[in-house]
C-alpha cells in the first residue's frame, strides 16, 4: 500500500495577545504597546487520510493568562503530547535548529459568543481548546476567554474563517507551569490528528500583530511522497527576500530515520519521501497569502492559497473545512512540512 504523508510545521501561527507580559507564541501586546514575538513550532503530517499536526508552544513566563490561537483545517480526533525533538531535527537538516492528552468533550460555555467548543484538553501547563465558529464569533469567544486581540485580528480571523471554521486556542496556566517547574523558553509540544484531504499552510497568520514594514521570517519544511506543486510559486534558491525554495530533493534516509525515532512519529515513512525547504523573509504587509500545496500532480487551488475567498455568505461546510492551515491532496498525498518561525522581538 502506498504510503501517504504530509508533514508540516510552522511557528507562531496565530497571535492572540494577552493581558500579561508573557505569551506562548506569536505576538504579545503588552500594556505599554510593545510587541514581543516568540517562537512556536508546528509539524503536521498526513498519512492514509489523516493529518498529523505537531506544534510547540513556548512558555514565556509572566503572572497572568496568556496564549495563542491557531486556525485548523479540520476537527481533530485526538490531541496528545508529541515528540520532543522532531522540529529541531528538521531545522538542523537545512541549517546549523514537541509534543498528549485525552480528548474531552466540549462544553457549552462558549454559547454566548456563538462558538462551538469541539474539544478541550490539557497538556502539561497548556489548556487546549478547539472551537468552531466564524471570525467574529471566534474573536468574541477569545475576548471572553481573556485573550487580547491585536487590531489586525478581526480581518485575519475573517480571512481564515471564510475558508475553515476551526481554530485551536492554546493558553498557558501559569500555576500549572510553576507546579511543573517550567522555565521561560520551555516548549510544550502537542500533536493533533486531523482527518482531511487537502493540505495548505497558513502563512498570512505569521504577520499578525506586526507592522506592515516588519519582516516575517519563517522556515517551512515540507515532506511529501513526491515533489509538490506550490502556490504561490517560490523564488529560486538564494534569492535574498520572499518565499525562497532553498531545497527540493529526495528526503535523506538519515533524516527520515531520525524523525521516525521521535516519540509518536512512527507514521513517517522510512523511505521514498520528498523533502522541500522554503525560507520566508517577507514584509508583513506583503504576506497576504497562504501556501497551497498539491501533491497529486494537479495545480494548487487559488482559494487554498488565500488569493480567492469564498463569498461572505458561503459558510465552510464540514467537508470543506480544511481551511486555514493546510490542505492534503486526497489519498495518495504525502507531504511533510514544517515552518519554524525565527525568534524575534520587536519593540514599538
Amino acid at each position: 500500500m502506498r504510503r501517504a504523508l504530509l508533514c508540516l510545521s510552522l511557528s507562531a501561527l496565530f497571535v492572540m495577545g494577552i493581558a500579561a507580559p508573557a505569551l506562548a507564541c506569536g505576538g504579545l501586546v503588552n500594556p505599554n504597546g510593545t510587541v514581543s514575538l516568540l517562537r512556536t513550532s508546528t509539524f503536521v503530517g498526513y498519512f492514509d487520510g489523516v493529518e498529523h499536526y505537531v506544534t510547540s508552544f513556548e512558555f514565556a513566563g509572566g503572572g497572568e493568562k496568556f496564549g495563542s490561537i491557531v486556525p485548523l483545517p479540520g476537527v481533530p480526533t485526538d490531541v496528545k503530547r508529541a515528540g520532543d525533538w522532531t522540529l529541531q531535527r528538521l531545522a538542523e537538516e537545512v541549517a546549523p535548529p514537541v509534543f498528549e492528552a485525552a480528548l474531552a468533550d466540549g462544553d457549552e460555555r462558549a454559547a454566548a459568543s456563538g462558538v462551538e467548543v469541539i474539544l478541550e484538553t490539557k497538556i502539561d501547563a497548556l489548556d487546549i481548546t478547539i472551537v468552531k465558529g466564524g471570525g467574529d464569533s471566534v474573536g468574541r469567544w477569545a475576548k471572553e476567554e481573556g485573550f487580547a486581540l491585536t487590531p489586525d485580528a478581526p480581518e485575519i480571523l475573517d480571512f481564515y474563517a471564510r475558508r475553515s471554521p476551526y481554530f485551536m486556542a492554546a493558553s498557558f496556566d501559569v500555576g500549572r507551569a510553576e507546579d511543573l517547574e517550567q522555565s521561560i523558553g520551555d516548549g510544550t509540544p502537542i500533536h493533533l490528528t486531523i482527518p482531511t484531504d487537502r493540505p495548505w499552510v497558513p502563512l498570512r497568520i505569521l504577520s499578525l500583530g506586526r507592522k506592515p514594514q516588519a519582516t516575517v521570517s519563517a522556515d517551512v519544511f515540507l515532506l511529501t511522497d513526491r515533489a509538490p506543486t506550490l502556490l504561490p510559486a517560490p523564488k529560486p534558491k538564494d534569492t535574498p527576500r520572499g518565499m525562497v525554495l532553498e531545497r527540493s530533493e529526495e528526503a535523506p534516509s538519515l533524516l527520515l530515520t531520525d524523525l521516525r525515532g521521535d516519540k509518536g512519529m512512527d507514521w513517517i515513512p522510512p523511505a521514498d519521501a520528498w523533502f522541500t525547504y522554503l525560507r520566508i523573509d517577507k514584509r508583513a504587509g506583503k504576506l497576504v497569502h497562504d501556501l497551497a500545496v498539491s501533491v497529486n500532480g494537479g495545480e494548487p487551488n487559488w482559494r487554498d492559497a488565500g488569493y480567492v475567498l469564498p463569498p461572505v455568505d458561503e459558510a465552510p461546510s464540514d467537508e470543506s473545512l480544511l481551511g486555514t492551515l493546510f490542505i492534503v491532496a486526497a489519498g495518495t498525498a504525502a507531504v511533510g512540512l514544517l515552518i519554524r518561525r525565527k525568534v524575534r522581538s520587536v519593540a514599538r
Binding site: 503588552n30 500594556p31 504597546g33 467574529d136 471566534v138 487590531p151 489586525d152 478581526p154
Partner: protein, 132 residues
C-alpha cells in the same frame, strides 16, 4: 484603511444622518468600525456645530473614539486611561456595541478622531474632521 470619498463623507456629515440626535441642536454622524478601520475616514462639519457621533463597533474587539487635535491624540496614545465617556468627544466602544458621544466644534480648522488602544492608532484607526 477604507476611505470614503468626499461626496459620501459630505453626505454623511451634512445631513444624511441628521435625525437621530440626542437633542434638536445636534446633528448625528454615524461612524462604523470594521476590521479596525473607521468608516468613513473623512468627516466635514460646520464651525460652531455640535455633533453627536454614533459609533458602531462591528469588530469582536474593543475600540475607542477620541476627537481632538494632534496633541490630544498624542496624549491618548501615551496615556493609560482605560475607559472613556466622561468627556465630550471621547468614548470607549466595546466589541459589537454602539456608543455615542457629542462634541462641539468651536472653530474652523482640522481635527482628528482615533482609537488609542495599544497598536490601533498605528494600525490606521484614525480619521480627519474638517471644520468649515
Amino acid at each position: 484603511m477604507k476611505r470614503v470619498w468626499l461626496p459620501l463623507a459630505c453626505l454623511v456629515a451634512f445631513g444624511a444622518c441628521g435625525s437621530a440626535g440626542a437633542s434638536t441642536d445636534e446633528r448625528t454622524i454615524t461612524i462604523e468600525i470594521e476590521h479596525s478601520a473607521f468608516i468613513p475616514t473623512d468627516v466635514y462639519v460646520r464651525s460652531g456645530e455640535r455633533v453627536r457621533f454614533v459609533v458602531v463597533n462591528n469588530d469582536p474587539i474593543d475600540h475607542e473614539f477620541i476627537v481632538g487635535d494632534e496633541h490630544i491624540q498624542l496624549i491618548h496614545e501615551e496615556g493609560t486611561e482605560r475607559h472613556h465617556g466622561a468627556r465630550d468627544g471621547e468614548i470607549s466602544v466595546p466589541a459589537g456595541a454602539t456608543r455615542a458621544t457629542s462634541y462641539t466644534f468651536e472653530e474652523a480648522g482640522r481635527l482628528l478622531y482615533g482609537c488609542h488602544l495599544p497598536l490601533h492608532y498605528d494600525y490606521g484607526m484614525r480619521g480627519d474632521i474638517t471644520i468649515r
